[in-house]
Amino acid sequence: MHISHNIIRVTLGLFVGGLISAFLGYWFAEGALREKVAETRMRQGTIRAMALADLVHAEQSRTEKDKQTPGALIQFWQQRHQDIDAVRVMRLSGARLLASSFSDDLENGTPPRRLKRSEKAIYDMGQLLRANVDTNREEGNPREPEVMGGELANGRLRVAVPWFTAKSPDKAAGFVQLEISPTIQTKDPAFQPVLVLALVPALLFFFGSLILGRVVKLEHPESVVWSSMTTAVLLLIFGLLGFGNYYLIDLGQENVRFQQELAELYTATRTSAEEGAAEFNLDYQIGFSNDWDVNEFRQPLRFISFDGELYIGVGTAQDSVANRLGMAFFACSLLAVALLVFFGLGGAARLWRTIVDYREAYVYTLPAMIGMLVLVFFPFSYGIALSFTDQTLYNTEKPLLDIWAGLSNYIEIIGDFNLIQTTEAGWSFNYENFYWTLFITVAWTVVNVTIGVSVGLVLALLLNNKNLKFKAVYRGLLILPWAVPSYVTALIWKGMFNREFGPINHTLGILGLEPIAWFDSVFTSFLTGITVNGWLSFPFMMVICLGGLQSISADMYEAARLDGANRWQQFRYITLPSLKPTLIPAIILSVVWTFNMFNVIYLVSGGQPGGSNEILITKAYKLAFQDYRYGYSAAYSTVIFMILLIYGVFQTKVSRAMESNS
């Protein structure tokens, strides 16, 4: 029996696409569930710790003569809650350990006592919590965690929350730390849907098309390809929908179960806190709001009411974990469809054949490809990913997905048209604006390339004169600016433009002119950059032109002379057209170099005055290393890349058109 290639390809595509997306999807689903479990476990610890911190607060706020150490209190707390393994209460003032049931602490001496030198970490944690509370309060915008903790290797969890005294209610006095074995345990989601997604669409398609192939004979193989492709895509989409919904519903159900368990736990904690307050005769009233179930910034989560009821809508409310899982499923689906199309339309087969046919070539280029991957593509893609985040100095440790900001950086850069500022003193350009910097960059590039090409060409024409003596000496001297490292040249020129001591202003003085403060106005500051870059760039153009000139055959000039052409005509109709093939690539390169000429701007004018002479690349640098806005700066760099990409495509088109004309 003959099975067409087409059916095999599509089946393979369905299988590979389904398998890879199923495994990826399972991995995401498992991660989402694990994250949910970790969050819930943390909340369990937090409720217990926050409640105890309230009791410690009441106990420590008593008048001096009633005050005891909270040793008995933590013993009571631990007895009432089987999940708690150890408790520690520390006070910052005097670096004291007030009470503890951690075995390490007890080995170092019975609390209450001062912390030992080896227990610095305990003190540091207290100070950090205190500083975080202060920072969040002062900035009015929480960014530092006020509940700290994490999973231990042995399946337990540690949670620390600050406690406060009545005397200074917003200054953390110390912390309460629990080691707890939370009742909620991690469990893996069901694995069967993975197998279903990987196998069912592929098998259905395979046998379906075999049966159909028997029954219906189609005349046009072309339409067979398309119809079977459409069927396969639909099958895959149905499979993916079922797969995604299964895990999303599962996660939602688990979430509701977790909330119910937490609500029960909260109620029990509340009861024991009331009993504790009575037993230790504390002046403490539990309020009519649930302030114990909080996020890491100690902001109440408001899922559970003060009397332990779940708020309506908890079950249906989309939370961030589920949202992210949905997004991940969507991405997986796109990948699966792409794989299916790739296999189904024969792309995979062709790729495989190419790799097999040219295997030596691929082996030879492998090291270079790996190098490119690691050194070019990875940093490049990381930069692009960074440009969609809000990363700054303060959140470098957070994963990129947590600080995802979408297109907001790009909108801020490209969508900001406040080019002109009006103040009481009148109007002025807003030098911070992207379009101003773009204008300066374009002006800078155009002027520089023009100067470089014309000076280089003129010098090359002069040097190409056969009657010129000591040609080698002149050529050597003229190439020198190119040989000196550009930052040395830039710094020398910066000195030359100095207001009081620069030779340029001295020369002006000798000529009876006023000295100029070169870096104080936009135009003169721009001129300094042009001068320096002109100095740096003409030797390259000169060398290129000289090479081009020497390759022009002397016969052509001779023939032109015989025909009576004058010097200008010779230049216009022989020299320039013959130089074009060498000159145009050089100009293309030079535009890109000048566009991103960091050294000259940074070292000579530094973008003075007021950032007006910044070009895009120096601006991106300042955004990253002076303003510490890494994400925004990455977006800025990506915009620069896009501009150069558009220029490159346009330039290739133009030069190709010119080539075909000539």
């Binding site: 912390l115 030198r117 003190y123 202060d134 915008n141 100095l393 303060y394 470098t396």
Partner: protein, 405 residues
């Protein structure tokens, strides 16, 4: 379970390490950016520490200053850095916010240790009320005058202006007073004298507060009405004026002393008080070199011992006498040889009213707008209030964008 076992074996290994410490010496690595005499003095102090402490050897690495801060930023958080490093406080805030760079040492610092240092020097190394380093040396500007021209240094700003006027002859390029007044680092002396500042409380920019405006109005008066200071006061100009005997008085720091020509007979005095601000002294910004324990260091206890020793009287003495530095340990200034040194005594007297420069990461956003503002004010294209308002808006914007989540 497995983790537990690893932990336990690590503990055992650590125990074994402690027990065999005299055999296998702990090696501490210190990074600094000293050169010349300062480097030699520092090396001498470090050697002394190695000799005194059993089982600790210290290796120093002098990093070129230009690359130093970036090297710390890049290497330390990844655990490739030293155990101890030295840097001025200006980068501290950024390193703390970035995390895993500087170890808090608040726990080790008791009241006795706090009392060891010159006033407010420890504040420079304190961030959000946590001590992150101990002050090693300080630098601040003071009044340096040409003894041939000035007999007694001025005590008040009125005396300063009167004396400077006497020595000013703008036509001959001679000025009574010269300092980089358009540079905010130097201007801070006036600004703080008026009770101004650039950030408070915390990272909230307050560039355009009334005190700052007043302080700039005073320097404008000195420049425009009194005419006692030169236009465009670059550091090179000030050096040349002072060395040619064309500036009677300058405000400058200890780094300048090496540049003074041997023909100039100079002396130092604290900056005068400000009559315009009700007789409060001028309060220059002080930079403090702190010694920090790096957060990923594996030998933090030993590292702190070294930090402690480097800031002790014994070490301070060597660094003051051999390295010609200004230790932040105040007992150093009671040593006879230091007591006799007029330069050191002048700077330490100045430090009594100096204010540490803020150690906030946001300082890097302040310099550029502030410099632009100062330049426009001096050029006369904007009033102090308007220029500072503009700078304030810029800094506020930059800070807000950084702090938002």
């Amino acid at each position: 379970m497995i983790h537990n076992r690893i932990k336990r074996s690590l503990l055992l290994a650590a125990l074994a390490c402690c027990m065999s410490a005299p055999l296998a010496a702990t090696e501490l690595v210190v990074w600094h950016a000293y050169r010349g005499a300062e480097k030699e003095a520092f090396q001498a102090v470090v050697d002394q520490f190695s000799k005194q402490s059993d089982g600790i050897t210290v290796k120093t690495l002098a990093v070129p200053y230009d690359a130093y801060a970036d090297k710390i930023t890049a290497a330390v958080p990844r655990g490739k850095g030293p155990d101890v490093f030295i840097f001025a406080q200006d980068r501290l805030g950024g390193w703390i916010e970035a995390g895993n760079t500087v170890e808090p040492i608040d726990f080790y610092v008791d009241d006795e240790m706090r009392a060891r240092f010159l006033d407010r020097t420890l504040d420079a190394l304190t961030y959000r009320d946590i001590v992150y380093g101990l002050p090693l040396n300080f630098k601040c500007i003071a009044l340096i005058y040409n003894k041939k021209m000035i007999d007694a240094p001025p005590k008040t700003s009125s005396e300063l202006v009167a004396l400077a006027k006497k020595h000013t002859n703008a036509a001959a390029g001679q000025y009574g007073l010269a300092y980089s007044y358009s540079d905010f680092f130097f201007h801070a002396a006036l600004m703080n004298g008026f009770g101004g500042g650039v950030f408070a409380p915390g990272p909230k920019p307050t560039l355009n507060r009334a005190e700052n405006v007043k302080s700039i109005e005073l320097i404008l008066k000195w420049y425009k009405q009194d005419g006692i200071v030169p236009a465009e006061p670059s550091t090179a100009l000030i050096t040349s004026l002072f060395n040619k005997g064309k500036a009677a008085m300058i405000f400058n720091g200890p780094w300048f002393l090496g540049e003074i020509d041997s023909s100039i007979d100079y002396a130092l005095a604290p900056l005068p008080t400000l009559d315009e601000a009700g007789g409060t002294p001028m309060k220059p910004w002080m930079t403090i070199e702190g010694v920090y324990v790096s957060a990923p260091s594996k030998n933090k206890d030993e590292a702190f011992d070294l930090v402690n020793y480097l800031t002790s009287l014994e070490a301070g003495k060597v660094m003051a006498l051999q390295g010609r530095q200004l230790p932040a340990n105040k007992a150093v200034y009671a040593i006879d040889e230091v007591k006799k040194d007029p330069v050191m005594q002048a700077f330490v007297a100045q430090s009594k009213v100096a204010v540490p420069m803020p150690n906030l990461a946001e300082m890097s956003m302040f310099w550029s707008p502030a410099t632009t503002a100062m330049n426009t004010i001096i050029r006369g294209t904007a009033t102090p209030k308007a220029a500072l308002d503009k700078a304030q808006v810029q800094v506020e914007k930059a800070v807000a964008k950084l702090r938002k989540q």
